[in-house]
């Protein structure tokens, strides 16, 4: 239990790195949401395009994070950011696309055809249907995608410490290189705890964002 003492005596460093970790993942997934949701909605209009986009996003997720960082070093070196937080944020941004795009696409596509027909029959334009009906109904599933992206990438961001991105991964990388089990264990536990806590926080947010009428149990038909 030496790692606890270590954590207590280095509490300020622990807090800084935790905040750093949250900021990096938050920034990356935030941007990913802003791009992924519109892409997910756009591809519902074209089945072939949807297949290709989802295929590409799946391929990206299969690239190991270490390899992705390696690929980005020479590319980003051109603008002087071969290592550091920039490649880390880009990697997380790319990894987040699959869960966010896929969930958005599925959610919009799965809106009850009867609701879609009712909305059309009432005389709503395509944008009005999206804004007033389809997106509000899709929010719980889109949010689930965002949650998956965040939890997945809290882990990825820990590895990004190897390219100097900062965050809680720094404890782990130093623990290994300095053969210091206290830092290693602290880093590992902190990353896991962060993932669990953030997941719950986002679940709460998801419930808050879900339209009110959808939280009550549907009447039996």
């Amino acid at each position: 239990m030496e790692w606890i003492q270590y954590a207590i005596s280095n509490i300020d460093v622990l807090i800084t790195r935790t905040l750093e970790h949250i900021a990096l993942v938050g920034l990356a997934v935030g941007i990913a949401t802003l791009t992924g949701v519109p892409i997910g909605i756009a591809i519902t209009k074209n089945e072939r395009l949807a297949k290709n986009v989802l295929y590409l996003a799946s391929i990206i997720v299969t690239i190991p994070s270490i390899a992705l960082f390696g690929i980005m070093i020479p590319v980003l070196s051109i603008i002087g950011h071969g290592i550091g937080y920039v490649p880390a944020v880009i990697a997380v941004l790319l990894y987040s696309q699959l869960p966010i795009i896929r969930n958005t696409y599925t959610a919009i596509n799965n809106v009850d055809p009867a609701l879609r027909e009712a909305a059309r029959g009432i005389g709503m334009s395509q944008n009005q249907r999206l804004q007033k009906v389809e997106i509000p109904l899709a929010i719980p599933i889109i949010m689930a995608g965002v949650r998956t992206a965040v939890v997945l990438n809290i882990g990825v961001m820990a590895i990004a410490a190897y390219i100097g991105a900062g965050g809680l991964g720094t404890f782990i990388s130093r623990g290994i290189s300095q053969s210091d089990p206290r830092q290693l264990v602290l880093g590992a536990i902190a990353v896991s705890l962060l993932a669990v806590i953030v997941d719950y926080a986002l679940l709460y947010l998801q419930k808050r964002l879900t339209p009110k009428g959808m939280t009550t149990l549907p009447a039996a038909d």
Partner: protein
């Protein structure tokens, strides 16, 4: 008024072109309900959905109040047509108020006006505004949800409504209630309505006219009574069912068949008077006894009058059954069967005697239509020939 001119839909399927609706020509006069009826795949729903362009017509035109709708943009067209579907399609993320005011809001009404309209609509569909407006669709029963669905379609007071099996998913008891409410509402609103159904009884109950579809063709378009009395061909006849003559009972009111020349006795008349009136009028069974307001209070059976003396009051028997002149023949027949009698006294809403109705008169009335048809034994139906 809705008029369809050569409305046609051809679907391209992997197996080739399928003609879902073939040159449909028909007109629904203003304020009437027209039921589109037929087996599944007959083209009735396709025809309905071409009117608000949920399905795009391959060719042909739709006129609403003499205006060719081809020139209207799709959203304007749809906002002026009330649309009710079987699955109801209330938006679960919106309150009842938001659901029923959606068209007025799309049309840019101000908040005061559409909130007032929401309350008005709730009264119309017999749901308490304060109890329901702030609730969500998932908290309502199926029947309540469909009432809201109808209210939503009526919100902007469109002259025309399209209803696609609107009451099909509701249990039979609630369905009958909602149908009755809707008929009552329609009497005041006088919308021009196209209504898809596959239920012949619903069609007879709701429709001012019925259009029978088969294989994309309009086979017969007539009033329910005409349809039941004179089906165009074997298909229509079998679709209407073997008991179609019985179904007509629903459509005819007692006052159409009533014999208003009815002899009566009063409570003070003697039994001799009763017997002489029975014999004079040729009544087989009995004579009705009335009070000062001409309300039936009893009957004097012939057999009793023949053997008894004294005042009618002391010998009268209870009236076995009475029918109102506004009831339909179905109820009259039912009362006759239930009481084992062949005639019924008929009263108006003040319970005053207006006449009587006999089994013979009913059979004669119904038979008149069939006799008129029997001269023309081979009705032609060129549209349905394959």
């Amino acid at each position: 008024m809705i008029r369809l001119e050569n409305l046609t839909k051809v679907f391209d399927t992997p197996k080739g072109a399928v003609v879902a609706a073939d040159h449909i020509n028909m007109e629904v006069p203003s304020g009437e309900i027209c039921i589109l009826l037929g087996p599944s795949g007959c083209g009735k729903t396709t025809t309905l959905k071409m009117i608000n362009r949920i399905i795009r017509p391959t060719s042909g035109k739709v006129f609403i109040d003499n205006q060719d709708t081809t020139s209207l943009d799709t959203q304007t067209l749809r906002r002026n047509i009330g649309y009710v579907i079987q699955q109801i399609g209330l938006f679960p993320n919106m309150t009842i108020e938001e659901n029923i005011t959606i068209v007025p809001r799309l049309l840019g009404w101000n908040a005061k006006k559409y909130k007032e309209r929401a309350r008005e609509l709730m009264h119309m569909i017999a749901l308490e505004p304060d109890a329901f407006l702030k609730r969500y669709p998932s908290e309502l029963s199926g029947g309540q949800q469909q009432r809201i669905g109808v209210a939503r379609a009526l919100a902007a007071d469109p002259p025309v409504m399209l209803m696609d099996e609107p009451f099909g998913a509701i249990d039979p008891i609630n369905r009958a209630v909602i149908q009755d409410e809707f008929i009552k509402m329609q009497k005041e609103l006088k919308k021009t309505i196209m209504f898809v159904s596959h239920d012949i009884d619903e069609a007879i109950k709701m429709g001012d006219r019925i259009a029978i579809f088969r294989d994309g063709h309009l086979v017969q378009y007539a009033t329910p009574d005409e349809l039941l009395a004179a089906p165009q061909d074997n298909f229509v006849e079998s679709f209407l069912g073997e008991d179609r003559a019985l179904k007509r009972l629903n459509l005819i009111k007692v006052q159409d068949v009533i014999n208003s020349e009815v002899e009566t006795v009063t409570q003070q008349d003697s039994m001799e008077t009763a017997l002489s009136r029975i014999d004079r009028s040729g009544y087989q069974h009995a004579i009705i006894m009335v009070n000062e307001q001409r309300q039936p209070t009893g009957i004097i059976p012939r057999s009793v009058a023949q053997v008894s003396k004294g005042r009618c009051h002391d010998h009268a028997q209870q009236v076995p059954a009475i029918v109102n002149i506004n009831d339909d023949l179905r109820k009259a027949v039912s009362l006759m069967l239930a009481n084992d009698i062949t005639w019924l006294p008929c009263v108006d809403d003040n319970n005053q005697l207006c006449g009587h109705i006999t089994q013979r008169a009913m059979t004669h009335h119904l038979g008149a239509r069939f006799r008129a048809q029997s001269g023309n034994t081979a009705p032609t139906a060129p549209l349905t020939e394959e």
